[in-house]
């Protein structure tokens, strides 16, 4: 007993020390370096000499005065809202479906979901790109020659920004649904059956039961999933960059991530790139802080 009292003061700190050190090394240092870079003029010349010149907040000023930045921000916010919304709705519907179906179908569905989740984005992009190819794609073939819904022969799905992002959205949502479905399904099994039964006896209809009983109990889970999805979709890079194509990225279809890539890496202007990264970080933090706070409050109440 005495040993415990003596150690009491420092042991918790000692125990947490390795984690703090690891975090400082893998997260703290890059962020320190990013901030440092964002305050420097750091182009190709500086890269070769490994030495930048401090210019205060000039990089931030340049970015915030770039009209493209504001267009891209708006586009990215809309893109994120649509993608997160679709992912959450379709994912939750999937989970509700899983509850109702027989064990065999559930097994089949879950396997399918895990396979989708396991597919690397780059591979998925290749498959999508192949399916939607204007000359040889299976999508145009099915629409035109099998379903006869119209003439989609050699239809270019990447012609307008809207069409491009419809394709990207379908890919991103498709890839994100499994995580939401499986997590919500797991949470659904935690909803006490007595509550649902009681509501049924009281005469509540399916939608009412879902809204007032299931969703209320579940709430912390969709909250968490939404805030995670916001963080992912706001910064999504692989799908838009590769599906639309590196050679098709322009100021009229950038998302935040591709804008950052072209301003920072494409133009070899790493100071500007770092400034955009920090702005992006701040925006994502601002967007998700609302959710995180509500989530914490819900957690406390429960």
């Amino acid at each position: 007993m005495t040993g415990r009292r003596i150690a009491g003061g420092s042991v918790p700190y000692l125990l947490v020390l390795p984690v703090v050190l690891v975090l400082a090394a893998i997260l703290g240092y890059p962020i320190y370096y990013l901030v440092k870079l964002s305050l420097q003029k750091y182009g190709l010349l500086e890269l070769v000499q490994h030495h930048g010149e401090y210019i205060g907040l000039d990089n931030f000023r340049t970015v915030l005065h770039d009209p493209v930045f504001w267009h891209v921000l708006l586009r990215t916010v809309v893109f994120t809202a649509v993608n997160v919304g679709l992912t959450m709705v379709l994912g939750t519907l999937g989970a509700l479906l899983l509850v109702r179906v027989s064990t065999w179908v559930r097994l089949l569905l879950t396997t399918g979901l895990v396979l989708v989740w396991a597919m690397p984005p780059v591979v998925a992009v290749q498959v999508w790109s192949w399916m939607t190819n204007s000359e040889n794609g299976v999508l145009n073939y099915i629409l035109t020659d099998v379903l006869h819904v119209g003439n989609y022969f050699q239809h270019n799905w990447y012609e307008t920004t809207f069409s491009q992002y419809s394709m990207v959205t379908s890919l991103v949502v498709w890839g994100a649904i499994p995580f939401v479905t499986i997590t919500v399904y797991a949470a659904l099994s935690q909803v006490p059956h007595e509550l649902v039964e009681a509501a049924q006896i009281d005469g509540a209809r399916a939608w009412r039961i879902f809204k007032d009983v299931t969703l209320t109990v579940l709430m912390p889970v969709p909250m968490l999933l939404t805030s995670l999805s916001i963080i992912w979709d706001f910064g999504v890079f692989t799908q838009p960059y590769l599906l639309i194509g590196p050679g098709q990225q322009t100021t009229s279809n950038y998302l935040m991530s591709t804008y950052l890539y072209f301003e920072g890496f494409g133009k070899s202007d790493f100071g500007i790139g770092a400034a955009i990264s920090i702005l992006m970080l701040a925006i994502v933090a601002a967007l998700s802080v609302v959710y995180v706070r509500r989530m914490l409050r819900v957690g406390e109440e429960a």
Binding site: V48, Q49, N133, E135, N136, P246, Q248, K267
Partner: protein, 415 residues
């Protein structure tokens, strides 16, 4: 006790694994020369790369060449990352439009003192030599150049009654339309497969009508795509593009599928591109593939073609610069350059020039403005956006050109 035995076994396994993984690498005990080449070499002339590697490895005992093939789209971003990590390749292939920014930043080793060690260096092509020279110093070795030619199906043109190559752009367009009608039973057939956003193609029309992209006046760059002559060329290009594409909107990006793939599938009668396209037009059509020089709107002249090309440079971070130079000398040997020429490229020296279709097409050529920030116009896809805007009809040719001029001036005049 059981645990101790387990621990010993685990340690033994780990140890043997370490020994096993280190043994083969210690046997190699040599040095590696890392070379970045573009995929063009991998697709078009891998045997020439192998020949240079053999020659180099035979004369450098214990050295191995590690060729890493790159894509044009992102090789510079990857290169920047290696510069940041001091882990650059020893030799890098640079597009002639990419060189200026990196030479200005001091990224490449000065090759001037070793110039005579490269074959034909006294007679290098002027255009390529200029792209490798900055402030009077030599930072690159010309590798090869290429102009653009028409690759076409001789059988289809003959069937339509055209035995000889056309003399003018208007005549060519009429022939293409006729071939297109003749082949209308082939679904999606394009008499000529052109990517509308392929600015290397489209700007040929601009230069053919005496126009230009940008010029420097009073120390400032000014975009000139909205000039009268440039506009005449752009309008002519739009008409040509519209007349030769079955559904032009689908054809903005001409790289997916690639032009020669469409050719090999029998769905086009002509491509406009590098002469080495014949590599991949398909076995089925091997006997009916011909090439001619794309005619100008002025009868009897070729259209000005983009003089593309590559240089080989040695990054200053390389620890094996002498070996890097030796490999470049092997790779650009007279024998290799002659073989490159046979593949449909323009060799790197005037002394080797012949009378191929490619070399005749190069008689009239154009090049991008020699501005420090030109590369940002390319990576920002400014010209592709511009072409898409007026080819789809979203903007008039004039309006699109004015927007492009403003974007180009802003990019090139950045400090």
């Amino acid at each position: 006790m059981r645990y101790r035995v387990l621990a010993v076994v685990a340690a033994a396994i780990t140890l043997s694994a370490v020994v096993a993984t280190t043994a083969p690498s210690s046997k190699a005990a040599g040095h590696t020369l890392t070379v970045w080449l573009q995929v063009d070499a991998q697709n078009g002339w891998p045997e020439l790369v192998a020949a240079a590697n053999n020659a180099f490895e035979n004369s450098h005992n214990g050295w191995k060449v590690n060729i890493q093939y790159q894509q044009w789209n992102d090789h510079l971003q990857k290169f920047d990352a290696t510069i940041a990590g001091n882990d650059t390749p020893d030799v890098i292939e640079m597009g002639n439009t990419d060189m200026t920014a990196y030479m200005a930043a001091g990224e490449f080793a000065n090759l001037g003192p070793y110039k005579s060690s490269f074959d034909n260096s006294a007679k290098w092509l002027g255009g390529l030599k200029a792209s490798s020279t900055f402030d009077g110093k030599l930072y690159g070795v010309p590798y090869y150049a290429g102009s653009r030619v028409i690759t076409y199906r001789t059988d289809l043109f003959k069937k339509a009654g055209f035995a000889k190559p056309p003399k003018s752009m208007a005549q060519f367009q009429r022939e293409l339309v006729k071939v297109g009608k003749m082949q209308s039973h082939v679904k999606g057939f394009a008499p000529m497969y052109v990517g509308g956003e392929d600015w290397f193609t489209a700007l040929g029309w601009v230069f053919d009508y005496g126009g230009s992209i940008a010029h420097k006046s009073h120390g400032k760059w000014v975009g000139t795509l909205a000039s009268k002559k440039s506009l005449a060329g752009l309008r002519r290009f739009k008409a040509f593009f519209r007349a030769t594409q079955p559904r032009s909107s689908a054809r903005l990006d001409g790289t997916n599928p690639f032009p020669y793939t469409v050719f090999s599938q029998g769905r086009t009668a002509a491509n406009y591109g590098p002469a080495w396209y014949t590599c991949c037009t398909g076995k089925k059509y091997a006997k009916v593939v011909g090439q001619f020089v794309m005619p100008s709107h002025t009868k009897g002249k070729p259209i000005p073609g983009f003089l593309g090309g590559s240089d080989l440079a040695v990054p200053i971070q390389s620890n094996s610069q002498a070996q890097a130079r030796a490999w470049i000398a092997d790779f650009t040997s007279t024998a290799n350059e002659k073989a490159l020429q046979k593949k449909g490229n323009i060799p790197n020296a005037t002394s080797l020039l012949g009378n191929s279709v490619n070399e005749r097409a190069a008689a009239r050529s154009w090049f991008v403005p020699q501005a420090k920030h030109w590369i940002n116009v390319q990576t920002g896809n400014i010209l592709k956006t511009f072409l898409a805007q007026f080819l789809t009809g979203n903007l008039s040719v004039k309006k699109a050109a004015q927007v492009a001029d403003a974007n180009i001036a802003q990019t090139l005049n950045e400090p």
